[in-house]
Each structure stands twice: as C-alpha cells, then as structure tokens.
Symmetry: C2
Subunit: 461 residues, 2 copies
Amino acid sequence: MSKSLITAPIAGFPEFLPGEQIEFDKMLNVVRRHYQAAGFTPIETPSIERMETLRAAKAGDEVKGQMYRVARNLDESMTDYGLHFDLTVPFARYVAQHRTATGANNQPIMPFPFRRSQIQKVWRGEKTQGGRYREFYQCDIDAIGDGELSHLVDAEIPYVMYGIFKELDFGPFMIRINNRKILQGFMANLGLDLDQAKHAMGILDELEKVGIAAVTTKLNDAFSLSEADARKLINFMQSQEGKTVDESLKFLHQQGIEGLFNAGLVELTEMIEGMRLWGVPESVFCIDLTIARGLDYYTGNVFETKLINHDIGSICSGGRYDELAGQFTPDQAHLPGVGASIGLTRLFPRLVKAGLVNVDRQTVADVLVTSKDHDQMPQYLQIAKDLRDAGIRTELFTEKTPEKKFFQRQIKYARNKGYPLMIVASTDDIKAGCVKLENPQTGESTSVVFNELVEAVKARL
Amino acid sequence: MSKSLITAPIAGFPEFLPGEQIEFDKMLNVVRRHYQAAGFTPIETPSIERMETLRAAKAGDEVKGQMYRVARNLDESMTDYGLHFDLTVPFARYVAQHRTATGANNQPIMPFPFRRSQIQKVWRGEKTQGGRYREFYQCDIDAIGDGELSHLVDAEIPYVMYGIFKELDFGPFMIRINNRKILQGFMANLGLDLDQAKHAMGILDELEKVGIAAVTTKLNDAFSLSEADARKLINFMQSQEGKTVDESLKFLHQQGIEGLFNAGLVELTEMIEGMRLWGVPESVFCIDLTIARGLDYYTGNVFETKLINHDIGSICSGGRYDELAGQFTPDQAHLPGVGASIGLTRLFPRLVKAGLVNVDRQTVADVLVTSKDHDQMPQYLQIAKDLRDAGIRTELFTEKTPEKKFFQRQIKYARNKGYPLMIVASTDDIKAGCVKLENPQTGESTSVVFNELVEAVKARL
C-alpha cells in the first residue's frame, strides 16, 4: 500500500493536532455552558435520518445536491438514508416524534415550549475551496412551541450568542437581522405571489456572492420580474447599510406596506425590543435587509453574524421556522420554532493562523512524572498515583530510558508537549525521600520532600 | 406523507429523551475526566475513513460485513469511503499520518509514546436484536510508542477503567485478562502454524456465543484440527474459571511451553504486576483464557470487562496491537499500541430500566422564572438575566398565559420538567418589590425581596 493512498488527509474532513483539539474543545465548552445557562437542555439525534425527513425540510436545492447518502453494505439501496446536513431538521423531527412522550407518572416529558441545545457534527458535500468543510460541528439552540411561540425567544437566542462571542473574544462582530416576510411582502407589492416570493429567497440569498446583475437575471428568468422591479427590490434590500436600528425601523414603517410586510415588521420590532430588554448593545446588531438565508424552512425573523475582522461568512445564523416541525406530525400540528447555529470548525484554523489561539500545549495533563531510573518505577508510579488521587492530572513516562538519553527522550518530551511542570527523581533523590519539581521550559528546579509534593504541585498550578 | 414513514425511529439508531440525555452526558463526562486525569490527551478524527484504511485494520470478517459506506451523491462510488467502526483504527492512522508533525519552533508535536483519548460515535451494521445498536459511542484511551511501548501501559489502562467503574457505580464488575500469544502458542503446540493460530482467534472468540461443539467443528474445518486437540484447546481455555490470578499464573508457568506461549506469559505477568502497583484490587480482575477478542489487530494482552449483575456482554474491552499503526507508514515502522474502549450506549437503557439512573429531570437549568402577568415581562426577563449573570442556569417562561391557565401551563411545566425551584411574581408582588421562590414539586413557597433573590436562590441549590 502506498503512503499517499492511506495516510493523506481526506479533502474537506478536518482533523486537528492535539494542541488544536484542546483549544477547540475549550471553545465548544464555552458554547455548551452558555446554552445550558439559558436553559436549553442538551439532546442528541442520530447522525442519519431518512431521506424523506431530510427532503421534507424543503432545504434549498444547493443543500439537496450536497447530501451524503449512507448504506450498510454495497447491496443496500443508497436512497433510504442520509447523514444530517444540519441539526434543525433532526430537531423538528425529534419534537414531532416525541412530543407526546410521557414519564413514569404519565406526566408529559416534553412540555412546550421545548428548548434544546445540540452540539454535533453535520455533513455537507460542499466544494472544499475557501476553507469550507464537508464535516463540521454545528452548535444549535432552538425552541419549538405548541401552537404559539413568543417572539421574545427570537430575541433571547441572539442574546445568548452575544454572551458567547463576548466571552470567546474573537474581536468585534455584527448580528445582521431581517425578517423574510418583509422581503416577501415587498415582492407581493411587485406582483409576485407568495409561492414565488418564497422561492425567490434562495436567489436573493446569493446577492452578496453573485452580484446584482446575476440576481436580476435570475429573478427575471424565474418570475418574469422586470429589471426595473428587480432593481427596486435590490435597492430596498441594500438601503439600510450603515443605518442605526431605529433609523431602519423608521424607514420600514415609512414604506407603509400592509399585509405580510407589516406582519414581518411587527415580528422584527418585537425581536429588537426583546434584544434591548436582554441588554444586547446596539453596537453589535443592525437591520440588514439583504439577509435572506439559504434554507427554505425559515418563515420570519432571520439573522446572520459576521466577525468584522475575519472574512469567513456567517459564523452564527438562524431564524424562525413556523412550518417545519408540523410537517412531521400526522395532524399537521402548528409547531412554530426558532433557533440558531454557531459554526466553529471553519473559523478555528483561521484563529490559529492569525495567532489568536495558542496551540502549543499538546497535553491536557498538568504534570509529567519522569522515570529517570527504570528500577525505581514503582516509586514513580506511586508518585503519579498520589498526584492523580489529589485531583492533579498526571502523566507517567513509562518507557525505559538509558541514563545518557534521559534529556533527549524525557525532558524533551516534556518540553515538546508544552508541560509547565515535571517531576524528576534519581535513585539518590528517592533514597533521600525527595524529588525535584522542574519547569521543563525554563529548567527552573526545586527540591521537595515526598509528603509535601502534592501541595507543592498544587501551589504551582 | 404518512406518520410511520417520517417519525418512526430508525432501528439500531438510539435517540434519548432529554432526561436520559442529561444523565448519559454525565456518564460521558465522568469518563472524560478520568481519561484526562491520566494524561490521555483528547483528539477527534473524521467520521469517515478510506475503505483501504478500514480494511487494512484486518478487522474480523464479521465487522467487515457491518461497515457503512458513504457517498456524496448517488453517482459517486460507494466503495471509496466508510464510517469508522471503531476508534482504534482511525487513531493508528492518525499517528502514522501526523507522527512527524512539527510546531512553530520545529519541535515534534507528537513525541512518543503518544497517549490520546477519543470519545465519538462509531457505526456498525449489526443485527439489532439483544439491544445492539448500529450507532453508538465508544470512549477510548490508547497509547502508541515508536519502536517500543512498555507493558506498564497495558496495566495503566485497566487501572483508569477501574477508577471509572468505581465512580459510575454500576455494581460489581470483573476485568477478564488474557494474552493472545498464550493461546497462539498453545495452538502451535497442537501443530498449527502462526497464521492459522492467528486466524483461529476469530473462531475462539465465539466460544461463549456458539458453544463448544460449533467451535470444534469450525476448527476442524478450517485447520483440520482433530476433535481431541480442539477439546484440549477448549479445556485449556476454560480451565481457569474461579481461579485467583496467582493460581492462574502458576498454572500457566506449569505448562512449561516455550516460545510464543512464554512470551505471552511474560507480557501478561508484567501487566498483572503493573495493575497491582496501580492498586487495582484483586477482586475486580482475573485471568480468563477464553478471552480472544473479535478484532484481528490484537497481538498480545487483551481484556474484556463484564458487569456481574447485567448480562450485556463486555462494556469495556481492549488490548495490545503491535502491528496496526505501522501498516499506515511507508517504511512499515514499528509502532506498538495498546488501548481500550468503553461502550456506554448499550448499557444505558438497561440502567434506566433497572432504575439505577434517575431520568426525571428534563432540564439542565436550575430555576424557572415564570411569567404570571405578561405585562410584567420586562421584570421577569430582568430577574432571569440577573440570575444568569450570577451563574445560575435559568429558564424564562416566555409564552403569554391567561391567568386562569397559569397553573396548568406554567406550574405544571415546571413540575413536569422536574424543576426543583421556580420564581412566581404577580403584578402586586412586583409592585411590593418581591417575588415568591417556590418548589413546584411540593408547592412550598417563600417570599423574597428583589435584591436578596440571587443569594436566596443560591442558598437553595
């Protein structure tokens, strides 16, 4: 077998080195803590779903072509199951499936509104240019109501995200908010019916990517929308750049468009008011009418979040989807939902490259117990055991090392792994009842007697 | 779309309800903490691997037929990629691929021995009878050395597992240890060559499942081993039931078989001595010569762990694999490894069923802030915000509720979710500057003024 065949990376499937993984996990833990602090209970769903479920999501055509199919062996049909491409669709299916579940005392296990968090990998066979991955983490929070769901939840979700981005400290960010009904209402005024307007969202979502001319052509091809009307729509969408939230709200009210447009404006206003109540500062959010979102299931408020200093697209986006979960119920129940997702996988390598994350520490342990003289291994082992029993994360160097190779093999091991602390003891040290506590990076060393070791290590950490 | 089509569970792909997921996550966190305490640094690998990689693992025929293939769309070949069926093979590939990686100062990032932990889902298309799943978590620790790897690590791994099972407190368990070289050496004495003896391990692994007669027949069919010799082998394997470790070691020495058998006995003895040094009590481990392990990549010490009170097969198994990682290197480097895996997914539903895990709490939040009078929402929201800012996990009930439905919708919501604490405030309460702190399960209630609320809640948790 050739090397290139077996050990080359698979394009689009990221794999981190230990120091990177440690820092990546820390970020996921920050996200997890904030999600749970706001009462979004963690769930997990299987990695695969029926293709019917994934298709019922009415995801855009783009995502449909990116789905990964799965089959148990070569004989099985590949058309039955696929890896999930997001966590919103599985969550909607989960709620529809389990909403009537009851506990030991017949009490409903999932009283509404049901708020959940979900942090799992998802798969999309995207082009791998531009740092896009085909397997990546999504970190989601969502709520689904039974019959109703307050737009206060639309506001609470970006508030939670705001807390996360403040703590993660990637630099300034902007939450760009819109409401799909506003765009659809505007299009109704231009003569498009509701189905057409909904379908147009996928085209409008590409405005930033493909430009005004291409979107104009596509709108004309799909709905016979005149160039003048298309320009009108695009001008409207781009009109709020640089405006404050209040200026944008005023502008939208001044349009004086009733019906769907106004319904969207009411929802958007409620969301904005909620965000202000939650204390999200005006400096981190704005109304941006170009936000359309690529997934077809969104119905109302939508948002995307961009880091000001990193050109990597949205790192946190979401919105309201009032018709998704109901589809999975036999009675087509009204189960409105809202949620958002953070994508950290794509961001992470850029943070590393920009030097914003320190990935030099290749170990989660706090201290390395070296083994200078293999004959003393029972003593080294006992030291490691004592430290672990005291709650100190400890690695024991187990390999027999000739004395003259001790520096090369063990000290350098501690240094390369980024250990801040190691324990070194010769046979003489052990006979004298003491060990040396050393910083392998600086060579700084102190002698400590056995029964003070645990405290001495704790004091250094 | 019919209900059965869309929302029925997919056989073999487990999905937990919120209260179950919360408890399952706690277990995973116990495992994670112990792994990291022993200096096994966390990594993750992609869910898919090249089929060449998965096949190079020389996994048994059984696993090979269970692999899930993946393809990006219907036109792509399904023969290129598969979901990983364990974490050992991906880890071995990871080490071979990254072993020469260097950091910012050109220092090796992965000095050997490399110790890692890995907690991810794996996929095997097994028959779904007997509570077997097709998607389940494996929680692995492994170490791989460059050229050498002390058998002290073979001992350290069951020591870490012992600490985990003690804390998880599932009841008594037994770590059953063997060494494949002992069985292979015994078979050499019966006239089988090494390749035959290695191949026979897969047959012997099924002894417990299919019985003596079937194994005897299979050994005869495959290697023309006489029935008498097959009986001799099986008798040898079954001879140590009920014996102490020292009795078994003495028995093995008394066989006086040199070569491979003796090499295995030396490795086994080193492992046992190491476990004693680490303080693993004799009551939780034994030598069991029937342990063969189903995966072909094992080369030396192997073990399986059974819970005494639960008949669900091995919940933690592993062993030594000295030839796996080297296969992925162009120079066929000697990269010996050892590790083990805990499988909690299959165990968990049984623990729930046996009442050993309490899954009544459907929320990770500590307190629910109810909203009795929707007009006072800004005040309720402020209370929730203050509690969260103080580090208390808090959910706000957001839905407008008619006064006469307050009990039915909000108090019952708190009760069904298993909240130990909720905050109730009428408009009058808020005007008076206080709220009620209630236990929704018992109805017990105390009045607290606003600026003492955070402390009062903390005191209750």
